[in-house]
Amino acid sequence: MSACSVTLRVNGSSARLEIDSRVTLLDALRDHLGLTGTKKGCDQGACGACTVLLDGRRVLSCLTLAAQSDGREVTTIEGLSGEDGELHPMQAAFVRHDGFQCGYCTPGQIMSAVALLEEGRAGSDEEIKEFMSGNLCRCGAYPNIRAAIRDVAQRPAT
């Protein structure tokens, strides 16, 4: 038997799960908690679509076991918007700059971009390119993704 008991703290809520030890954080979010905003792209650590914040740092949920996340703070795309559904400034900027085409990589791009700003790495286009390189966009919306990030980075802090 390889079940384990895991408490996931996601977007401020706590949930106790009895799951197989093989379940990744990505599958726990999507299939056990119904939070399908986080996307499964390559499922192998190569594309960044599954990016979430774990204790405030961006990680790949497809290569993180749910069991390893026990008790840690997880933030997904669903946790970014305000209580009244108001978009996070980064989400709003992606809409304003048309930072996507099919939209599949977008939640990962946005989670990564939010972390990028926290890390202080959005100072130039070169920096944004380098430190967003873990998030692939096969539609090629990169120029607009960068414009969205630049836009938020250049706004005065509120």
């Binding site: 384990c4 990016t51 790949l60 290569l63 076991l65 069991a67 390893q68 990028l116």
Partner: protein, 327 residues
């Protein structure tokens, strides 16, 4: 994907005891390779995973002229360290050129050192011929798409690459690995940790089952040293090296008194190019000397059609890395 039992360890000695006593157990740290090879590829199948990420083996301390880096320190944490930035630029650059920020937030320094030497044929269980997965079965890579494979330390038995960027810098710097086993602690120079594949590519290092890396000790370069990391790859970022070079020079009165050269993207283990260092020491920095050093660096390469270009590319990368240091 085979079921496994998951345990989170809270005590280092207890974790070592569990894994040492169970041949089917393995450690789990950042998981960026382990989870990939287990859950996604199904080519590594421990029955028990001991999660060590909550052990107190994290953090960076300067002791004398060395940095002691806890094994669970992440790549991002080490790259952000002020002493690394000031005294070990080649380490910082190797870290920042390796993987994405997401992976660097997960991957630990101990795990980076012990990442599997691997190739796409090893990772594909549908490929029958892999001496690393199934000793004696052959090597599919030799006649396959081998662009990402090794030319140094390779043989007809295996040409899989050790893909770490960090370790290229660490072997050049003579880093020392601190290991805890059931019977106590020991240290192993990183240059002596890895084993060339020979006819047993399934054996990758000198550690015995259950031994755990607790820290990596990195001697600081002298205050006047210059060091850097050059990585040549197929796309600008987030890609493995075709060839990489970690280089460090100390120049006094126009003469090189200390030289360190490590090579990546070419070795079945992180490669120390001592012959190149010998050419450099005592010489005057310049293109002629650097070219001679580069020429000496690549000894008896084992190339196949897909990797032949790497000999020239490595030589040129060495020259460029050294020129960057004295520019």
């Amino acid at each position: 994907m085979r079921p496994f039992e998951y345990t989170s360890a809270s005590d280092t000695a207890a974790a070592v005891e569990i894994v040492t006593g169970d041949p089917d157990a393995a450690y789990l740290a950042g998981g960026t390779t382990q989870v990939d090879l287990m859950l996604k590829d199904g080519v590594v199948e421990p029955r028990r995973l001991v999660d060590i990420t909550r052990l107190p083996l994290r953090g960076i301390a300067r002791i004398g002229d060395a940095l002691h880096v806890g094994a669970l320190t992440t790549m991002e944490e080490l790259a952000a360290d002020a002493t690394v930035a000031e005294r070990l630029p080649c380490v910082r650059e190797a870290l920042l050129h390796g993987a994405s920020v997401q992976l660097r937030n997960m991957a630990t320094i101990g795990g980076n050192v012990l990442q599997r030497t691997r190739c796409r044929y090893f990772r594909d269980p549908a490929v029958a011929a892999c001496n690393k997965r199934a000793p004696g079965s052959g090597c599919a890579a030799i006649h396959g798409a081998a662009r990402m494979h090794a030319i140094l330390g390779a043989s007809e038995h295996c040409i899989a690459l050790h893909a770490s960027d960090l370790c290229v810098a660490l072997v050049a710097l003579d880093a020392i690995v601190h290991v805890q086993g059931r019977d106590g602690e020991r240290t192993v120079p990183l240059t002596e940790l890895y084993v060339l594949p020979g006819d047993r590519p399934d054996v990758e290092n000198v550690l015995v089952h259950g031994e755990l890396i607790t820290a990596i000790e990195v001697p600081l370069l002298p205050a006047g040293a210059r060091s850097g990391y050059v990585k040549i790859r197929d796309r600008a970022s987030y890609e493995f090296a075709l060839v990489s070079v970690a280089a460090a020079l100390v120049v006094e009165d126009g003469v090189i008194v200390q030289a360190r050269v490590g090579l990546g993207g070419v070795g079945t283990i992180p490669w120390r190019a001592r012959a190149a260092e010998q050419v450099l020491i005592g010489g005057r920095p310049g293109r002629a000397l650097f070219a001679a050093a580069a020429n000496a660096a690549i000894i008896d390469p084992y190339t196949v059609e897909g990797t032949r270009f790497k000999v020239t590319l490595a030589e040129r990368a060495i020259v460029r890395a050294l020129e960057d240091l004295v520019a």
